[in-house]
């Protein structure tokens, strides 16, 4: 290896190591703090913890399902459209990510809340959502869907659309083309976007608090339970213990999701 290549490689590794350490050290810190100060075992044994964890898993999975079901068509249409309107919509997709989550919660209330401009309509058809578990899902969907749609859009846009044309000329139906030509090509993008989307939904705090409230068993997800613990006398020790439970749980799920999408993907 030439000196130049060696220097370049060292630089590459150094840059990667700096970021990796920056991301890993706080996580290691919170685990260490929980093991020394906190009481992870007690939290794991408490039914309140499991209640919050269960609510978190159910709501974030529902949010992910909605994002995939509704977001895939949206991303596909945007990526295939040549109209200027589609380009504007695509750039607006990231806006929910820019909003501080608390503001996102207020924004949801201004539309779907009781005093929101759709509030009376929703109330009239018996769909008042604020302070319900449905509101938790909607808050998570609002902040996490852009992650999925953005990734799916990148997948569809980077694919050569002529391949679909070729499939049509060979007599494949639209659905068959999508399933056997398009989907296998964009699968990694969809899977990556889904993981990001789910992780963001699982960690959602601010929008959920404002839009759905915080009631144990109904709307108090794990992040909200951590916030409640932090504000309590148990304070930091209780909050870090619960955080480590959430982290450990998310870690297991993320590893499982990665393996699932990498090996059990239907098109590998």
């Amino acid at each position: 290896m030439s000196v130049r290549a060696a220097v370049a490689r060292t630089g590459l590794v150094a840059a990667a190591a700096v970021l990796l350490l920056f991301l890993a050290l706080p996580l290691a810190g919170i685990v260490w703090r929980a093991l020394t100060d906190g009481d992870v075992a007690t939290e794991l044994g408490s039914s309140a913890t499991w209640e919050a964890l269960q609510l978190s898993v159910v709501t974030s999975t529902l949010a992910l399902a909605l994002a995939v079901l509704l977001g895939t068509p949206l991303a596909y249409l945007l990526a295939r459209s040549r109209s200027p309107a589609a380009r504007v919509v695509t750039s607006l997709l990231d806006l929910p990510l820019v909003l501080p989550p608390t503001v996102a919660g207020i924004a949801l209330l201004t539309a779907f809340g009781r005093a929101g401009y759709l509030g009376d309509t929703l109330d009239g058809i018996g769909l008042a959502v604020s302070f319900t578990t449905a509101a938790v899902v909607l808050a998570q969907l609002f902040v996490s869907a852009p992650f999925f749609v953005r990734a799916a859009y990148a997948g569809f846009a980077s694919m050569d659309p002529h391949l679909e044309g070729v499939a049509y000329t060979l007599g494949l139906s639209r659905w068959r083309t999508f399933r056997s030509v398009t989907l296998p090509l964009v699968w990694p993008a969809l899977a990556g976007g889904a993981v990001l989307c789910w992780a963001r939904a699982l960690g959602e705090l601010g929008a959920t608090l404002l839009f759905a409230g915080s009631l144990p068993g109904k709307t108090q997800t794990m992040p909200l339970a951590i916030l409640a613990a932090f504000e309590s006398e148990a304070g930091l020790a209780g909050a870090v213990s619960l955080s480590v439970v959430l982290l450990g749980f998310a870690f297991v799920l993320l590893v499982a999701l990665h393996r699932l999408t990498a090996t059990a993907g239907p098109y590998r």
Binding site: I106, L109, G113, R114, A115, S130, F131, L209, L210, G213, S214, L215, P216, T219, Q220, L224, L227, A228, A229, F230, E231, S232, E233, A234, G235, L236
Partner: protein, 263 residues
């Protein structure tokens, strides 16, 4: 020459801009001589007025203040983790006293107190607790883990049992701070909220339904932190003077009754 290469010039310019940004950022962080007060969010409106009054009363002292407001738990955690502060005014006596127990602070002093009320919007049709219970109102409360929520539990336990049960059935959220509880009324998502009297005093369009007078007030405890700057102790003493107590009262707080707490 080295400087002939445009990349070098551009990088130098970028470095200069970065350095300037850092310098401006550092200097914006306030004077090192400022007396730093970390205070509970509910003090946001009244404390600047008290500081002003203190400076007017002591023209001889050359002091300046930096006020920081947040939830008491957040502030206590920041201080315990090494954030600098000279005086900490906590809405949660337990947290302030924990700092004293750990040897990080001294002179725990009750400086004021706040009464729990059930707030409703001015135009709402409710004038008593039983009106609310009958009307199926949506009620926001603080989480039992925070002082306002703990007081709410006490208040409900002192009501008629049937009434308390009906009110509890209307609870839609247990919020992590009194600020969030109050926002439920402001955003019109809830019909009533258990908050402090001082919150109603500074928020437009709200009125308070009375609760049993036996519900204890929430005390605000100030502690002097280790190595507090000169003048901090004088300010702490000033908080108990009639001038400061009048300002507290005008802002909806109660007069301090207990004074210095036994260590």
């Amino acid at each position: 020459m080295l400087l002939d290469r445009p990349g070098v010039l551009r990088r130098a310019a970028a470095t200069l801009v970065l350095a300037a940004t850092l310098l401006v950022g550092a200097s914006a962080c306030g004077d090192d001589d400022d007396i730093e007060i970390a205070a509970a969010s509910s003090m946001r409106h009244v404390l600047p007025r008290i500081v002003e009054e203190f400076l007017r009363a002591h023209p001889d002292l050359d002091l300046s203040f930096e006020l920081r407001f947040n939830g008491s738990q957040v502030l206590a955690t920041q201080i315990a983790e090494g954030a600098s502060a000279d005086l900490f005014i906590s809405a949660n006596a337990v947290q302030a006293e924990r700092l004293v127990d750990e040897g990080m602070a001294s002179l725990a002093t009750v400086v004021t107190a706040n009464r729990l009320v059930l707030a409703v919007r001015e135009e709402s049709p409710w004038y008593s607790l039983s009106d609310l219970a009958d009307g199926g109102a949506r009620i926001a409360v603080g989480s039992p883990s925070v002082p306002v929520g703990r007081l709410t539990v006490i208040a409900l336990s002192q009501l008629d049992r049937q009434l308390a049960r009906e009110l509890l059935a209307g609870v839609v959220t247990e919020d992590p701070s009194v600020r969030v509880v109050l926002s439920r009324l402001e955003l019109e998502e809830a019909d009533a909220a258990f908050v402090y009297h001082s919150d109603v005093a500074v928020t437009h369009g709200l009125r308070a339904l009375p609760l049993p007078p036996t519900v204890p007030p929430n005390e605000y405890v100030a502690v002097l932190l280790e190595d507090a700057k000169p003048g901090t102790e004088e300010f702490l003493a000033f908080l108990l003077t009639p001038e400061a107590q009048d300002l507290f009262r005008a802002a909806g707080f109660l007069r301090a009754v207990a004074g210095v707490r036994a260590p």
